[in-house]
C-alpha cells in the first residue's frame, strides 16, 4: 500500500472506531462516579422518584432536607413508598441529613397525580415560624407546589409528621417560588386561569401562613387578561433581596428567548395592583434580553461584590452581579447550548452580560452520553460559607460543577462530581428515523448547599440524592480548612 492509501485506511479505522469511543463514555451500572475536588459523603435513593428542588433547613439540632419531586414516569407513575407499602404519586421527600453519611428517610408526602412535569410537587421552600412576622413560633412552615394546580403550606415542625395548614388552589400551573422568611412575602409562580401565560407571579403575604393574603398578580404587559397580540415569554422564577435590597430579579424563559427583569420590590408590593399594562410596567427598572437561544431558569443576585482587578479604581470597584442559569430541555444536544451567564447590573438601566461558563463537551463526550447536557439550576443559599465565593451548577449528564466566582468576570471551574447510575436510573430517549433510541445517564437536576458546606444534588432520572463535600484545592476557594 502507498502512504496515502495507508493514511486513508487509518482514517477509516478511526472513523469506524469513533462511535465505539463515544459509546465508552456512556455510564454503566457499577462504574464509579467521576469526580474532581469533590467527594461523595452519603446518598438516599429518594424512593427512585424524579427530583427537582432540594432545600436544606437547620431545624433545632437537626438538619433536614426537603426535596420536591416531578411526577412519575410512564413505566412507574406512582412508585411504592416502602414506609406505607402503598403506591404514591411523587410529592415531597423529607430526609434527616444531620449525619450526611447516613441520611434517614423520614417521610414522603404524596403530590398531584401525573407523570413528569404534569404531576408531583416540584418546588419547596422552608421558613421558621419564629422568623415570620405572624407565624406560630413553634412551627416550621414548608411552602410547596402541588403539581400545577395549587400551592400548599405545611407545618413540618415534626418533619416525620407534617400537617397541612392551607392551600392556594385553582391554578393552571406552578413552578419556582420564592419566599422571604423575614417578611413573609412570597412570590408564587402560578398560572392564574385568566392570564394568557402558563406562568406569572402572584405576590402573597404569607407572614401568617394560616391566612394567606393576596397582594397582586404580576407579569409582563401582553400576558394579562384581555390583552391581545404577542404573548411575552413566560416566567421561570424570581429571587428577592428583601426590603433592604429592595429588588426582585425575575428570570423569564427556559431554553429560548429569555431575559432578566429587575424590579423595584417596594413598587411591586405597594404600587397600583390592577393588572393594566401601565401598572405592570410601573415596578420594572429594566430588562436585559438574552439571546433567542437561551432562557433564564435561575437569576441569582450577588450585590456588592468586590472585584479584585478593580480594587484601585476610584469608581466601580464593587459590582452588583446576577448569575443567570439557562435550562437545557432537549436530550443529546438537540438545541443550542444552555449554560451560565454573569450579568453586571450595577448600572441598573444598562445591565450587561460580562462572562459565561459551560462544561467543555469534549471533556466527557456529553452529547453522546444520553439525556440532557447543559445547565439547569444553581445553588441558591446565601449563607456566608459559599455566597459570592462559589457557585454550584446542576449540569444534567455532566453532574454538578463547582465554580470559583470570586471574580465574576472570569468564573473558573474548580471541581465536579458526576454520580454513578444505578439500576433505577431512568432512560432518556431521542427520535431516530421516527423511532425511540434510549440511553441511561445521570441527570443532575438541582443543587443546594447548607451552612456546614455540604452540597446536595438530586437527579431528574430517579437516581436520588447525593451529598457531597469539597476536597483538595477547591476548599481554599471557600476558605475551608
Amino acid at each position: 500500500m502507498s502512504g496515502r492509501v495507508k493514511l486513508a485506511a487509518w482514517i477509516s479505522i478511526y472513523c469506524l472506531a469513533y462511535p465505539g469511543i463515544a459509546h465508552a463514555q456512556q455510564q454503566v451500572v457499577g462504574a464509579p462516579p467521576e469526580a474532581q475536588n469533590m467527594k461523595l459523603v452519603g446518598t438516599s435513593d429518594l424512593q427512585a422518584r424524579s427530583a427537582y428542588q432540594p432545600t436544606i433547613h437547620h431545624q433545632g439540632d437537626r438538619w433536614i432536607a426537603y426535596i420536591g419531586h416531578h411526577g412519575g414516569t410512564d413505566d412507574i407513575p406512582s412508585p411504592v413508598n416502602p414506609q406505607t407499602g402503598k403506591a404514591e404519586p411523587n410529592g415531597t421527600s423529607i430526609v434527616d441529613v444531620t449525619d450526611p453519611s447516613q441520611p434517614k428517610y423520614l417521610r414522603h408526602i404524596p403530590g398531584q397525580e401525573g407523570t413528569y412535569e404534569a404531576g408531583g410537587a416540584q418546588m419547596v421552600r422552608i421558613c421558621d415560624g419564629k422568623a415570620l412576622p405572624k407565624g406560630d413560633r413553634n412551627a416550621v412552615y414548608m411552602l410547596r407546589t402541588f403539581g400545577g394546580e395549587a400551592h400548599e403550606i405545611w407545618n413540618v415542625a415534626d418533619p416525620a409528621n407534617p400537617v397541612l395548614i392551607t392551600r392556594i388552589a385553582g391554578l393552571k400551573d406552578t413552578h419556582k417560588n420564592f419566599w422571604e422568611c423575614d417578611t413573609g412575602i412570597a412570590f408564587l409562580v402560578s398560572g392564574a386561569p385568566d392570564w394568557r401565560t402558563r406562568r406569572m407571579t402572584q405576590v402573597y403575604d404569607l407572614s401568617d401562613p394560616a391566612h394567606p393574603q393576596k397582594i397582586r398578580d404580576f407579569g409582563l404587559p401582553g400576558q394579562e387578561p384581555g390583552s391581545t397580540g404577542a404573548v411575552p415569554t413566560e416566567l421561570h422564577g424570581p429571587i428577592s433581596t428583601g426590603p433592604s435590597g429592595n429588588r426582585a430579579y425575575f428570570g423569564y424563559g427556559t431554553n429560548k428567548g429569555g431575559f432578566l427583569q429587575i424590579v423595584d420590590r417596594d413598587k411591586l408590593l405597594n404600587g397600583p395592583k390592577e393588572p393594566t399594562p401601565d401598572n405592570l410596567r410601573s415596578p420594572e427598572i429594566s430588562r436585559m434580553p438574552m439571546s433567542a437561544f437561551n432562557g433564564a431558569h435561575t437569576t441569582f443576585p450577588m450585590p456588592g461584590m468586590p472585584i479584585a482587578e478593580f480594587a484601585h479604581d476610584k469608581d466601580g470597584n464593587s459590582r452588583d452581579i446576577v448569575m443567570i442559569v439557562d435550562e437545557a430541555i432537549l436530550n443529546e444536544c438537540n438545541e443550542p447550548r444552555q449554560m451560565v451567564w454573569f450579568a453586571d447590573v450595577t448600572v441598573e438601566n444598562r445591565p450587561m452580560m460580562i462572562s459565561s461558563y459551560t462544561v467543555p463537551e469534549a471533556s466527557g463526550s456529553f452529547c453522546e452520553r444520553g439525556g440532557r447536557f447543559g445547565s439547569h439550576s444553581s445553588s441558591e443559599s446565601m449563607a456566608p460559607i459559599y455566597y459570592k465565593k462559589m457557585a454550584f451548577i446542576a449540569f444534567f449528564n455532566a453532574g454538578v460543577r463547582a465554580l470559583d466566582i470570586r471574580d465574576p468576570y472570569h468564573p473558573r471551574e474548580v471541581g465536579y462530581f458526576i454520580p454513578a447510575i444505578t439500576a433505577v436510573t431512568d432512560k432518556r430517549c431521542v427520535k431516530i428515523e421516527g423511532k425511540d433510541r434510549c440511553k441511561v445517564a445521570i441527570q443532575t437536576n438541582n443543587v443546594e448547599t447548607d451552612e456546614r458546606g455540604y452540597i446536595y444534588i438530586v437527579d431528574r432520572a430517579n437516581t436520588g440524592l447525593h451529598i457531597l463535600e469539597l476536597t483538595g484545592p477547591s476548599r481554599a476557594v471557600a476558605g475551608l480548612p
Binding site: 404534569a118 433567542a292 438545541e335
Partner: protein
C-alpha cells in the same frame, strides 16, 4: 486501483449532487393548486427556520403565504395544545406583526395525525394594512408543529385553502419527517 477509486468516488458525488439539484428544482416548482415554496422570510430566532409557501392563484382565494415549522420541546407534554391562549402564545404570528387580535374562539384541528387548535386573527401590519391570518398549533408529546398563514382574502377561503394545503400528502409527509427529526 487508485484511479478507479477516484473515478468511482467522482461518479457517486456527481450523482448525489444531481439528485439534490433535481429535488430542489422539484420542490420549488408550483404545484397543481398553485402553491410554490419560497425562501423563509424571517430573521433567525430561537427555532430553526421552517418552510414557507406562497399561492397567488384564484384556487387559493388570492395571495396567501404559509409558514410552517416544528418547535421541538416547546409544548406542555401532557396537556398538548389545550386552549386558545396556547395558540396565541406559540403560533408564530409575532413573526409577521406584534399586533394581532383573535377574531373568534378557535377550533380543534388535526394535522398529520397530531391534534391541536386553529384560530383566526386580524393582523395589523407595520404599513397599517390589515390581513386575515390563521395560527395553527398541533402537538405530539412535548413537541409542537406550528403553521401560520396570512392573506388578503376572506377568512373562510383562507382557512380552507391553508388546511387543504397542509393536509396534502406532500405536506403531511414533510411534517411527519420534520417532527421525527429527519
Amino acid at each position: 486501483m487508485r484511479r478507479e477509486l477516484v473515478i468511482a468516488t467522482a461518479v457517486v458525488a456527481l450523482g448525489a449532487l444531481s439528485g439534490v439539484a433535481a429535488y430542489e428544482h422539484a420542490a420549488s416548482r408550483q404545484d397543481e393548486a398553485g402553491w410554490r415554496e419560497i425562501a423563509w422570510p424571517f430573521p433567525r430566532d430561537g427555532w430553526p427556520a421552517g418552510k414557507a409557501f406562497h399561492c397567488g392563484t384564484a384556487a387559493c382565494g388570492g395571495d396567501i403565504e404559509v409558514y410552517v415549522r416544528p418547535k421541538i420541546g416547546f409544548c406542555n407534554c401532557d396537556r398538548g395544545v389545550a386552549d386558545d391562549d396556547e395558540v396565541d402564545r406559540v403560533a408564530d404570528l409575532d413573526l409577521m406583526s406584534e399586533h394581532f387580535a383573535p377574531l373568534a374562539p378557535g377550533h380543534v384541528v388535526q394535522l398529520a395525525d397530531m391534534p391541536g387548535r386553529i384560530r383566526a386573527y386580524d393582523l395589523k401590519m407595520s404599513d397599517g394594512s390589515r390581513h386575515a391570518a390563521f395560527g395553527i398549533a398541533v402537538s405530539r408529546r412535548c413537541d409542537l408543529l406550528i403553521a401560520v398563514a396570512h392573506g388578503k382574502g376572506a377568512p373562510p377561503e383562507l382557512r380552507r385553502a391553508v388546511l387543504d394545503f397542509l393536509g396534502s400528502s406532500k405536506m403531511t409527509g414533510w411534517i411527519t419527517a420534520a417532527m421525527d427529526g429527519r
